[in-house]
Symmetry: none
DNA sequence: TTGACGTATGCCGATATAGGCATACGATGG
DNA sequence: CCATCGTATGCCTATATCGGCATACGTCAA
């Protein structure tokens, strides 16, 4: 067996940095291939090939305008990536690990039978690294 | 040039579904290799190899316990993925907002007891598979 | 020690990739 | 019709991959 095709899903398509750059560029608005070629500073066939991959996973859409092809971002498939990685958000902050420990300690101190006050509601703190 | 190594970064490491499964499993707590083998239902060498990749990008850590090796999640590197994809979140939300607007308009147009005018909404969708 | 256990590694084969280069192709303007 | 522009595609090479299988390695129990 070989590695999964880049066109398998957004995860694989987006693993390539150049393709991320393309998406980043398109996030600023529609662009023609030539536009992207200039923006990325790589050969045109390279860009066209990456665009093909992105199109196949539904991350970009195309529109014909005269002899040019205008590409646009279609972020939908990224949602799978987002949804997956989002679940790990709370895990990468050491500070948060510390907080976890503290909370656990508190819970323990309070003793069994006591409920911690609705910890479910405080979900959206932004845990940044110092 | 070939495709970037899976050990290049979290993006590449995580493109493999099996490795995501491993991380998901480890999110529930430390696990030995045998544990993971059972959990995933694949051959042991396969698991060991995936774990190697994950270790090389810093997504897991190991600890020796007797003859077993206990792996733990180390989510840090996922932050790069999260930070990148997070920027796109609002784009599919916007889409929904748009949809909401359209639906609202339709509802308003229809009014109490009115029919919606045949919506010619469907835009592009050029999902092609050559 | 011997042997069983838990893991890691080596080798193989089939498959794809990314980019370089040349070229094919459709649209447009003389 | 012909030349040119804007893009896509084909061919090529070097390189990795993932999984299967066998096996090496370290640890623990008799």
């Amino acid at each position: 067996m070989a590695r999964a095709a880049t066109t398998t899903d957004a995860f694989n398509a987006v693993a390539e940095p150049r393709r991320r750059e393309i998406l980043d560029a398109l996030a600023g608005g529609e662009r023609s291939v030539t536009d992207l070629v200039e923006h990325l500073g790589v050969a045109q066939p390279v860009v066209s090939k990456h665009l093909r991959v992105l199109r196949e996973v539904g991350l970009v859409g195309v529109r014909d305008e005269g002899r040019a092809r205008i590409y646009r971002l279609e972020a939908g498939p990224l949602r799978a990536v987002y949804d997956w990685v989002k679940g790990y958000e709370r895990l990468w902050s050491e500070r948060f690990d510390l907080l976890d420990t503290v909370l656990e300690d508190l819970r323990a101190e309070r003793g069994p039978g006591q409920q911690p006050e609705s910890p479910e509601s405080s979900q959206e703190d932004d845990h940044d690294q110092p």
